[in-house]
Symmetry: C2
Subunit: 146 residues, 2 copies
DNA sequence: TTAATCCTGAGTAATTTACTCGGCATTTAT
DNA sequence: ATAAATGCCGAGTAAATTACTCAGGATTAA
């Protein structure tokens, strides 16, 4: 149940962009320095974030990256899914993997419910914390009751 | 944010034991067959579960494993922590790792709050689902409000 | 034209995961 | 006493994933 470095760095970098929202494009070199993350690794991360439409890029000198949406419109869940794929504790929950054969057993379905619940919890939590929330340092309290 | 096979198999195996609670020791061969898991791998898993005191073992013919507590006293969190160590999305949250140097940065603390919250959510959820709950197929509804 | 940037695909090193293997120890039934 | 079924243990290995690096091209502003 660990986040990858990609996910962790990605969120940190996005917070960095959020803190500098409306300051024009921020170059990777600056983020790499400020967050003490390898710039080349950040390039990989930003490629994925861009593919998912979470950031805009500007090339050339004075280029860099900016958030594609205001900080309150981007949530942690978006970032992590962009970088790690679907957030799910076990594979057999995501789409049509052919592991369905295992799931014919009675008790599997028992465990399956737990993983579904866990998956939904995590997604719900991370979808309700925006970059803006993080900057302000306070998240909404919420009731999870599903 | 994926569970290891060890964790997944471990929970399935423990459910198996719970379903056969009070039927005497269950040998690994039976579980391996019933759950379609490599018996040798199960040995590793059960060694860890035993080290953590979640199961008892009986050697020799007619030997096997039994739950160390009734199914309502053992929760999914116990099992996963026994098999994967502390449940935490990022390392820097667990004890005195020397990654504290990174955590001097202002925005790191911003992200740290999120990971702490996520960690607590996951642990709370998994600590409130017992083997008995899984067998009965219904979990308590709960309010997460921290 | 230059320098700073983004962009891309491939490659690699390290780590973790998911096991296997060999063999010994214990217990019960015969 | 012996055999057979089990647990127990430490080491080893193969595969997958992660966490990067590397080389070089494309774009843009000064």
């Amino acid at each position: 149940m660990r986040l990858s470095a990609k996910g962790e760095y990605g969120v940190r970098a996005m917070v960095y962009l959020a803190l500098n929202y409306r300051s024009g494009p921020i170059p990777l070199s600056k983020i790499a320095l400020g967050e003490n993350i390898s710039q080349q690794f950040l390039e990989q991360i930003f490629a994925a974030l861009r593919r998912e439409g979470l950031i805009y890029s500007a090339r050339g000198i004075k280029g860099g990256y900016t958030l594609a949406y205001p900080p309150e419109k981007i949530c942690v869940g978006d970032i992590i899914r962009a970088l790690e794929g679907p957030i799910t504790p076990v594979n057999c929950l995501s789409e049509g993997k052919e592991e369905a054969d295992r799931c014919t057993r009675a008790d599997i379905c028992l465990t399956r419910n737990v993983w579904e619940r866990l998956r939904d919890h995590i997604n719900y939590l991370l979808d309700n914390i925006s970059l803006q929330d993080m900057i302000e340092g306070k998240f909404d309290e919420f009731i999870v009751n599903k």
